[in-house]
């Protein structure tokens, strides 16, 4: 790697001060699985790694059935999918955490890092959006919250201003009779970038959908929140027709490109298929049944 310095602050205030003083080539270092590679390949000009893993607010987890989940932005993925509460209450986040990279990546990478990296195909981002995640940000001008669907502004770009850090992600308390599913389609079986990915969060009262929220990725410059898909399901009994309407909304919202992983036509088709499958698997989970799709 080219010359770069390293510092490990003990507090958020210290980290913000260092980032502000050091300018845009100071990079937050959480799991490092993206930033170390990008620094070494000179895709992100880096003069200083600011290792935030000694800051408890960034690494911890706290869940309360009333107030919901506050997840340290840098908490490693393997600590999500080995957590019984996370598997039970936030299964779409666990789906994503289990699929990002492979085992060694999951030993280090984090949801916060995946979100901040703002890849159009970032495998955690549709799940974070579908689960109504909010980024808790701290910076030189204090604290602010940004909804996940507003966080990414373009490929590799986000709303963070100079000196700002995402400290944690907050998710609301789970509604009764609800669950969620994340799925992606990749060229191989593992260790690849999504051709299309999708997350659906559903609440059912009997057979009526009382809440539905869907997000899709790898089909636009940023992951997309698809309100029209939720609207096609909400307030109605769940039928093959409403599912098809939601899946069509997903396909309509997708604005993909042709690239080596897939064509526009294939991606539009997959946006439909994954929307349908995540809806059906969310229903299976609500009913305590095994999921059908992989």
């Amino acid at each position: 790697m080219q010359d770069v310095k390293y510092v490990k602050p003990k507090s958020l205030q210290e980290a913000v001060r260092i980032l502000q003083e050091s300018g845009p080539t100071a990079r937050v270092l959480a799991g490092g699985t993206d930033i170390i590679v990008m620094a070494r390949e000179r895709r992100r000009d880096t003069s200083l790694f600011v290792d935030i893993k000694a800051i408890p607010e960034m690494m911890g987890i706290s869940f309360d059935p009333q107030s919901g989940l506050t997840l340290g932005a840098a908490r490693p993925l393997y600590q999500l999918y080995r957590d019984e509460m996370m598997r039970r209450v936030y299964p779409a986040l666990v789906d994503s955490a289990s699929l990002i990279g492979g085992t060694a990546i999951q030993g280090r990478a984090s949801l916060g890092g995946n979100l901040c990296n703002a890849g159009p195909a970032g495998d955690s981002i549709p799940s974070i959006i579908a689960m109504e995640g909010t980024a808790n940000i701290i910076g030189p001008n204090g604290e602010r919250q940004v909804k996940a669907e507003e966080f990414c502004t373009g490929p590799g770009r986000n709303v963070l201003q100079p000196g700002e850090i995402v400290v944690s992600l907050h998710f609301p308390a789970p509604r009764p009779n609800s669950s969620a599913r994340f799925l992606r389609f990749i060229p191989r079986n593992e260790m690849d970038i999504a051709v299309v990915n999708c997350a659906t969060n559903l609440t059912l009262e009997g057979n009526t959908v009382t809440h539905a929220r869907m997000a899709i990725g790898a089909v636009a410059a940023t992951p997309l929140f698809v309100p029209a898909a939720g609207a096609a399901l909400e307030g109605k009994p769940l039928t093959d027709e409403t599912i098809a309407a939601a899946a069509n909304a997903s396909r309509d919202a997708a604005t993909p490109i042709d690239d080596m992983r897939g064509s526009i036509r294939q991606r539009k088709h997959l946006a439909y298929v994954l929307a349908e499958r995540t809806i059906r698997d969310a229903v299976h989970r609500i009913r305590g049944e095994a999921t059908e799709y992989h």
Partner: protein, 157 residues
């Protein structure tokens, strides 16, 4: 500019103090400063797993860890798998079951498989393949590696 730093860590059960640059990856420090050349540079970007080590009980790609980050950490490399001159069970089964040809991926596979059986002593074939998805092999086609891991799981440690 980089800084020169002193790192205190534990490698393969032994305390070690070594000097590194802040720009060194753990892989570079292991190979070029500490002299543990078991971990290999295959891709240098977290895809191939040839650099696999175990850090604080979890499998990581040492090319994606900075040397500076292992201050106070507990590291296991392929060199640490043998015990008192005896090959580990996995090392034995890899040899007996011909789970290598050129051998360049083998340190990574041994470390990754060790981490697997530490976490899950009786994995299914599916679980083995998914756990090892981050380790690439050009020579073997993977089947003999998977069977060697299954064989080691049967034998126990």
């Amino acid at each position: 500019m980089s800084d020169r730093i002193i790192i205190n860590t534990t490698i393969n059960g032994e305390p070690l103090e070594f000097m590194a640059d802040t720009r060194d990856s753990l892989l570079e420090a292991l190979r070029d400063r500490i002299g543990l050349t078991g971990a290999k540079e295959g891709c240098n970007n977290g895809n191939c797993g040839a650099c696999s080590v175990i850090m604080d009980g979890r499998l990581v790609n040492s090319c994606c860890v900075l040397a500076a980050e292992v201050e106070g950490a507990d590291i296991t490399t392929v060199e640490g798998l043998e015990q008192n001159g005896q090959l580990s069970t996995l090392q034995q089964t890899f040899l007996e079951d011909a789970a290598l040809q050129c051998g360049i991926c083998t340190p990574g596979f041994l470390v990754a498989s060790t981490a697997l059986l530490d976490f899950n002593p009786h994995p299914t074939e599916h679980e083995i393949r998914y756990w090892l998805a981050g380790n690439l092999c050009r020579c073997t086609g993977y089947d003999k590696i998977v069977r060697a891991v299954q064989h080691a799981a049967e034998v126990g440690s």
